[in-house]
């Protein structure tokens, strides 16, 4: 009996040894899993991809700004060709390769009717009551050093200006014209930070006018509105024309022949 009891004591040691082996094994596996990505430095590549992505989107914006001011329809293509060469120099040793496809043909977006007609990634409709300019491209990023291939994204830049109403007010010896204008950018997000200096020109019947501007949320239009006031207009204008250059340097021109009288 005594011998049997003494033998049973060995099982405690064996159990403890098995428990220890189990603890060490499980911990090693968990530790290896947790620390694997720490050694790989993925963050570095993620930041490179993110930096290229942001810069490509900015390039689309710069290209659109240039196009809207110069009407050079090849500017985006030229900029992207230079960009894919330059980005390799910016990250030497990573095997960075950027490719692009500029939007082409008719595409529906932002409720624009008729849909936008892109050529070389650019679309424009000016001298309408609602005018816009847009750029659109798909960019493909490969980083050979980490085997990243085919990461692509589409980006677009957009600026739309609508002349909601132009009203000629008369009476009590004062004559003036009020423009009610709304401005949107990509995502149909209202542009709310424009200053009077952003409205490059305001014309009535083809003649440039000096003006004052205020901005507010209009319950009438249920939208953020820029109200442009031109004073001392003694006759009903035949047309109204507004040129806008936003803070990004993107230009658009709206025009209407509908001037109301009150």
């Amino acid at each position: 009996m005594r011998l049997a009891k003494e033998r049973k004591g060995q099982f405690i040691i064996i159990a403890a040894m098995l428990l220890s082996i189990m603890i060490v094994s499980v911990s090693t596996v968990i530790y290896g899993t947790v620390t694997y990505y720490r050694q790989e430095r993925w963050e570095e590549y993620v930041t490179i991809v993110d930096s290229i992505k942001t810069a490509s989107c900015n390039l689309l914006q710069i290209g659109l700004a240039n196009y809207s001011q110069t009407l050079n329809s090849e500017v985006l293509k030229n900029y992207f060709n230079r960009w894919i060469r330059d980005v390799r120099n910016a990250y030497p040793g990573y095997g960075v390769d950027v490719d692009y496809a500029l939007a082409s043909g008719i595409r529906s977006a932002y409720g624009i009717v008729p849909p936008m007609n892109y050529s070389l990634g650019l679309a424009r409709k000016w001298n309408m009551q609602t005018s816009y300019v847009a750029s659109n491209a798909t960019v493909n990023i490969n980083i050979a050093s980490v085997g990243l291939t085919g990461y692509n994204f589409s980006s677009n830049v957009f600026l739309k200006m609508s002349i909601r109403d132009v009203v000629w007010y008369t009476g009590t010896g004062k004559w003036y014209v009020l423009f009610y204008v709304s401005v949107d950018k990509e995502g149909l997000e209202p542009v709310i930070g424009l200053q009077a200096s952003n409205f490059a020109s305001v014309k009535l019947s083809g003649v440039s006018q000096s003006f004052t501007m205020k901005r507010y949320y209009s319950p009438t239009y249920k939208y953020f509105i820029y109200e442009i006031k031109v004073s001392s207009i003694t006759s009903l204008p035949s047309s109204a024309n507004v040129t806008l250059v936003d803070s990004r340097g993107i230009k658009t021109v709206s025009y209407t022949t509908i001037v109301q009288q009150q």
Binding site: G9, A16, I21, T54, N58, I62
Partner: protein
Amino acid sequence: MRVVESIMAALIVISAVTFLYFFASAPSSQAHDTSELEKIGHNILHDIDEQGLLARYVYRSEWGNMTSALVVSLPVNVYFSLSIYDMNNNPVNHPLMQYGDQQVFSSSAAVASVTYIVPGYQTSYDPRILVLKLVNG
């Protein structure tokens, strides 16, 4: 009575746990630290860029604003040094944009470096490479 066996078993388990404690201590935190700093640096440059300020600071030579923006955005114990290059890696002429003594950068074992590209400003394509170096104070 299995007192001896119990003590031996306890010693075995304690040895295993002690072994794990030393084995699992953080590897080299240096790589991890620089990775974190790189992430912080990139995010800050990205945020300033998203606000449309980064290109303005660079192309309109608003170096004071650039330095201030980085100082207020970075954690208090992180020092930085910013250099700007053109696409041929020639330094662009600008005053020293740095927070913290030069000695901090030379003596620190782990300096994180973030490369960020600004393709141009307004209508002009004229890329600049921003190299932001960061160290923990």
